[in-house]
């Protein structure tokens, strides 16, 4: 039996994600005060690897997968794996998903996330298409009014 804090994290993160998904059925990011912008972008003006993931979820829920992909390609690709892992943890909080996958894969994933964070801040093609929205190549890659 694990500690209560372990189950809190498992159920808490699942509830938080479920809550966000329900909220995005009714709220549009950028058009409501209830969905705050990314604190990191707000403070630094730089895109973090998660910037655009709320809009990504929004467009995915509203049947526009290509628009979703352009908000945050990494988040869209990682989402099924996250949902699978979270599902397994919720069904059995004792289960340790992803603890036994070879460390070279998790190291590779870490490097992908860091490279993605760097690349999407580069202000020239093709990297600027990784920024949230992704449609600003050709124009200047200036930050748009931003929501995570």
């Amino acid at each position: 039996m694990r500690q209560a804090s372990h189950r809190c994290i498992v159920y808490g993160s699942a509830l938080a994600l479920a809550g966000l998904i329900v909220a995005l059925c009714f709220l549009k990011p950028g058009a409501t005060p209830w969905l705050p912008p990314c604190p990191f972008f707000w403070l630094t003006g730089l895109y973090c690897p998660g910037c655009g993931s709320t809009r990504m979820l929004y467009f995915l829920l509203h049947g526009q997968p290509w628009l979703a992909f352009r908000q945050n390609p990494l988040a869209l690709l990682v989402l099924p794996v996250v949902l699978y892992g979270l599902g397994r943890q919720v069904v059995n909080p004792e289960s340790t998903v992803f603890s036994r996958i070879p460390p070279r894969w998790t190291t590779a994933f870490l490097l992908v996330v860091i490279s993605f964070a760097v690349a999407r801040n580069l202000p020239f093609a093709p990297f600027c298409s990784l920024a949230p929205g992704g449609d600003r190549c050709g124009q200047q890659c200036a930050p748009l009014p931003h929501h995570p």
Partner: protein
């Protein structure tokens, strides 16, 4: 006959060790004396090997939906858990797992706090305009 894995004294006809299940009947590898003192005390439950949560899922969620630095640190810590599990350093993996858990609480807390501040500020400014 003593088990070469855990040192338990088994029945001479035993094929597998009654304590740890290791194969002990193969000729040539079954020693007549324990190679080392048994480390598993009776009644002591072995820690479940590789059952150490790495919180990779939660770290990714913090990375995507809360704030960058803590989420990246979380993925790094989850990676450390996997590295140490692979090296069978279960104490080290446990420590990394605990550190990641603490880090995640901070990450969720910071994300929630900044969100609340933003929402309250947005509602106040909307009310004043």
């Amino acid at each position: 006959m003593y088990c070469i894995q855990c040192g338990t004294n088994n029945n001479d006809q035993a094929v597998h060790c009654m304590q740890c299940g290791a194969l002990i009947s193969q000729p040539g590898i079954a020693p007549t004396a324990p190679p080392y003192l048994p480390q598993v005390q009776p009644g002591y439950i072995q820690p479940p090997m590789a059952q150490i949560p790495n919180y990779m899922v939660q770290s990714v969620l913090v990375t995507l939906f809360c704030c960058l630095p803590l989420g990246i640190v979380g993925i790094f810590k989850a990676n450390e858990v996997n590295r140490k599990v692979a090296l069978q350093d279960y104490a080290g993996a446990m420590a990394a797992s605990k550190a990641n858990k603490t880090m995640l609480w901070v990450g969720f807390g910071v994300g929630l706090a900044v969100s609340l501040i933003y929402v309250v500020a947005a509602i106040i400014s909307a009310a004043n305009s």
